[in-house]
Symmetry: C2
Subunit: 316 residues, 2 copies
């Protein structure tokens, strides 16, 4: 995304700005800015993305801010196969550069060319950003709790990831002057697609190969994360299997290889990959219903649907 | 400040919101919101602070966000005589609750009743917030450097603290519909008062008693901070004294008592308290000239001047 690189500067102090350029340059799918631009296009934005670009940059910078701070909290060494900011620099640099990225996200939003749209954009952005922080806190809380329900887990991933995808679409639509009703339908499309995608991501973490994802395989299992996979397995297992799974999730062995292999086997034994795929598909269908219900240009909405399909087809 | 406490909520998750209520409830002088309200009053705000209150809350929440994250970076155990957030909870809580406070600061700003004022308020707020982050980075950088100049140090404290005091005044004036020229004069008044105050604060850190400040006495010396006191002493000392001072600032003894006593003596021997007081008074005079040059209600400006006097009279 060239517009993002155009935001890089050689401003001082470099210790503050270089990590921002670094994380924004790591790449990623850029799915949030792309859907923001498409949502704006669906409601009449021009080919230069005059109306959509400020919100597209705002959501991408905000997203990378959350990655930067989450990686510190999760002590993650790698992001997209490269050293995380706190590894390459240090934790303090990660905190402060992240703070500035959050400010820069608002700055991008404020560049929207129509001042009359600004209050609604800020209102949506504040709501979404607050939800993302709440989601991260639930994520941290749930690591310490053994009694997380499936409903609580789905609420957490909704806040932590789905809300921002929905927000990107809502902001794009609002920036181009869509009605709040149309923007709400796009938000719901994004939120449900985000839920489906997160289930997919959880699936990949356990059942995908690490060369595909750039992450450690079985990272969620190693860190005892109560993902949908774990919670659904607990629901489906008999007493004996449930005890074994809980025991594995109460332990943090120095060499986690055996744990990862055994937990994966247990999950497969009760059809977890299939169960996850089913719920994912339910979310996906509901998402498309909202996309159909939204106004806006049909051809652009078809591109949004293709994008969602592509996101969710990474494993069968 | 009752309006601040009114922002407390029992929203979930508590792990995210409780630390925010905690730090906002620790107190402090509330100097930034007070001057924001006075600046708005000087340009016609009513007695209920309808125009000034959103920016007053924004700057106070932003200020406390910076304290929260700075305390993590500085590994400070105490803030206003109480446990810092990362001590009472943990570092991750401090990072995330701080992030949400930055979002909440923008939320308060967006509550300004006049949508037409919003673009200018956001423009100023973004500029100020960026400056504060840059100042914190310079502060961190300077701890590792032995060649910081007095000019660099003054630039750092301007960004880290003075810009926000100026920003509070500028935002208050803009919220009440002041011209940018008047708002700029109030900004300069705040910026120069902030510089004077920071010099005072450095003076107190070394020459004040810890029961007055709620901080460890000589904390800057213990942490080898190149404050104005250190830099001016290096300038004024002979070769021998300079070498001794540099040696003390290259060491981090387990028991710092002797270091604090000896460094304080060295500084006194070349008249540092007097030199700091002189520069402080120069900033103060220039600050008052800008206050006089600004438009607005004279009686309210007189209160602003009294406040500045009070801030700077804490030691003679």
């Amino acid at each position: 995304m060239e517009a993002l690189r155009a935001t890089f500067s050689d401003r001082e102090p470099r210790g503050l700005y270089a990590p921002i350029d670094y994380i924004l340059d790591l790449g990623g799918k850029r799915i949030r800015p792309v859907v923001a631009l498409l949502a704006a296009r669906a409601f009449g934005d021009d080919e230069d993305h005059r109306l959509g670009m400020p919100v597209a940059l705002a959501v991408e910078v905000f997203h990378n801010f959350t990655l930067l701070h989450d990686d510190i909290m999760d002590e993650s060494p790698l992001r997209r196969g490269q050293a995380t900011v706190h590894e390459k620099w240090d934790v303090n640099t990660g905190i402060l550069s992240g703070d500035l990225m959050l400010i820069q996200a608002y700055q991008h939003l404020c560049n929207c060319p129509d001042p009359a749209a600004l209050p609604a954009l800020l209102h949506t952005f504040n709501r979404v950003a607050t939800g993302v922080c709440e989601g991260q806190q639930y994520d941290v809380d749930f690591e310490r709790r053994m009694d997380v329900t499936i409903a609580e887990y789905l609420k957490m991933i909704e806040l932590k990831t789905a809300v921002l995808l929905g927000g990107a679409l809502e902001l794009g639509a609002l920036a181009a002057g869509a009605s709040q009703e149309d923007a709400d339908h796009l938000y719901a499309f994004g939120r449900l697609t985000g839920l489906a995608f997160q289930l997919q991501d959880d699936l990949l973490d356990t059942f995908g190969a690490s060369s595909d994802t750039g992450k450690l395989q079985g990272n969620d299992i190693i860190r005892n994360k109560k993902t949908f996979l774990f919670l659904k397995a607990i629901e489906l297992l008999g007493l004996e299997g449930r005890e074994e799974l809980n025991q594995w999730f109460a332990a943090s062995p120095e060499d986690p290889a055996e744990k990862v292999i055994r937990v994966t086997e247990i999950m497969q034994s009760v059809g977890i990959p299939e169960a996850v795929a089913q719920l994912r598909d339910e979310f996906q269908e509901e998402a498309y219903a909202h996309l159909d219900a939204a106004g806006g240009d049909a051809a652009t909405k078809a591109i949004l649907k293709d994008l969602a399909e592509g996101l969710l087809q990474r494993v069968s």
